[in-house]
């Protein structure tokens, strides 16, 4: 943030000097980030073959969040960028989480009231239009 004013004092960004605006991320850091992202991809694929039950999806999502943070902070320069840009990103993510949370609460709420299985007559339609489709009975065996 403060770096902007100091950069603009430098004047011209010719040659190997600093650019007029923005922040330069050194190549070594870019390569290290790329390597870390590839390594995390390998980790997340490997975890798939280990069964930890319910936690599998949370581990996979956790690794994805770490990878996303690396991309956002380093590749997208957000670590050195204005706070307001970070706020924009975090705000949008919060609103997506809000949408998912409320939608899931609604789904939970109505779940017990839903009649199970395919309604009457669906079996005939499915047999005609989708011959191999499995049909869910309305009266499942207890």
């Amino acid at each position: 943030m403060a770096s902007h004013s100091s950069h603009s004092q430098d004047g011209h960004g010719h040659g190997d000097g600093h650019p007029l605006v923005g922040h330069v991320v050194p190549l070594s850091l870019l390569f290290a980030t790329g390597l870390a992202l590839i390594a995390l991809t390998v980790v997340t694929v490997a975890v798939r073959y280990i069964d930890v039950g319910e936690f599998n999806i949370w581990i996979a999502l956790g690794v994805a969040v770490v990878k996303a943070a690396l991309v956002v902070l380093i590749f997208m320069h957000l670590r050195w960028d204005r706070t307001f840009n970070l706020l924009t990103l975090v705000g949008s993510i919060l609103f997506v989480l809000l949408l998912i949370t409320f939608a899931m609460m609604d789904v939970h709420q109505y779940q017990p009231q839903l009649a199970p299985g395919n309604p009457k007559g669906v079996a005939e339609t499915l047999t005609k239009d989708a011959p191999y489709a499995p049909i869910a009975s309305q009266n499942p065996p207890a």
Binding site: S8, G15, L27, G34, R48, I57, M76, P131, P134, A136
Partner: protein, 323 residues
């Protein structure tokens, strides 16, 4: 118009805001600086904020699909567990690496633009473009393979490939062949919960049992048209696609492929748009439009490309890595 004495812009640049080192002088020094900005830094920050707001709308755009994914997965976990095995993890993993590498070359392109190095800038943009092409080529092979196997959305998922086979399968005697198998199979391991719901009207099932043929050698010589129809139906069943005959297939499996094509397809469209953008950046870079003073388009294009990568980082585990 005549009531307004002077256009506000003129007064703005010269006198009213002529503070210190920035003033009207900047506009002469930097030909890229638009008249409504005071300094290059102000112009750069405004452009970047605009891009971030756009990226926020992109996240909301995909967010709706992620919400749909969450609801479907909550309601039909067995469908996701089962259908995920039809996706090729190796191909998905390679595609993830291709996108990460192209993100890296894009970040390097921004670096070289900042350092006013035209050659490496063009080369890095070219590598990024190559990554995008590679991603789409792998995706193309994945999609065509699935289309070939009828792994698609909607009712087509349950249809045999050719029409003749369809007619045989849908004749009253044969229609529930696979369904009967399901109703008789006692336990179906992964999707047992929903598969237990699968039941047939008793009358249909009994008809099917009668239709089953004995071993080849003992099969009755072709005589009555009924028997011939049975043989034909048997052949059709053998020709049918594996997933259609799989007794473990849970109800509503096609929904997985609907959301899969929705999300990866929308992502693929973004990759195509990104390719156009990279081509445009390459064209500008070759004409020497960008240097350490002015590289805003490269920077913002990079942000867009990284968001495309970011979305894939989440799509990959959500579709390919379901245990």
């Amino acid at each position: 118009m005549s009531a307004i004495p002077t256009p506000t812009h003129d007064a703005h640049g010269h006198d009213a805001h002529g503070h210190g080192e920035h003033g009207h002088g900047d506009h002469g020094k930097y030909p890229f600086l638009r008249h409504h900005f005071d300094t290059p830094a102000q112009q750069f920050d405004s452009a970047k904020l605009g891009m971030w707001v756009f990226l926020a709308t992109e996240i909301l755009f995909f967010g709706a699909l992620f919400a749909m994914y969450a609801i479907l997965r909550f309601k039909h976990p067995e469908v996701f567990e089962y259908a995920s095995h039809y996706l090729d993890t190796i191909m998905g993993g390679i595609n993830t690496c291709v996108l990460i590498l192209s993100s890296l070359t894009m970040a390097m392109a921004v670096y070289f633009a900042q350092r006013s190095k035209k050659g490496p800038l063009v080369f890095c943009l070219f590598l990024t473009l190559l990554g995008a092409v590679g991603f789409l080529v792998i995706k193309y092979f994945e999609y065509t393979h699935k289309f070939h196997e009828n792994l698609v959305w909607g009712a087509s998922f349950y249809k045999p490939v050719d029409e003749e086979e369809r007619v045989i399968v849908t004749t009253p005697h044969q229609a529930p062949a696979t369904l009967a198998e399901q109703s008789t199979a006692p336990d179906l391991s992964p999707g047992a919960a929903s598969a237990a719901l699968v039941k047939l009207p008793a009358a249909d099932a009994s008809v099917v049992k009668k239709a089953a043929l004995g071993p080849g050698g003992l099969a009755p010589a072709s005589g009555s048209p009924e028997q011939e129809a049975e043989v034909k139906a048997e052949e059709a069943t053998e020709k049918a696609l594996p997933h259609l005959l799989d007794p473990k297939m849970p109800v509503n499996t096609h929904q997985f492929f609907a959301i899969y094509y929705c999300m990866t397809g929308l992502h693929g469209i973004h990759v195509v748009i990104g390719m156009g953008m990279i081509l445009w950046l390459m064209w500008g870079a070759m004409r020497g439009r960008y240097d350490g003073n002015y590289y805003t388009p490269v920077d913002l294009g990079g942000l867009y490309w990284h968001i495309v990568d970011l979305i894939w980082i989440f799509l990959f585990p959500l579709f390919y890595l379901i245990h």
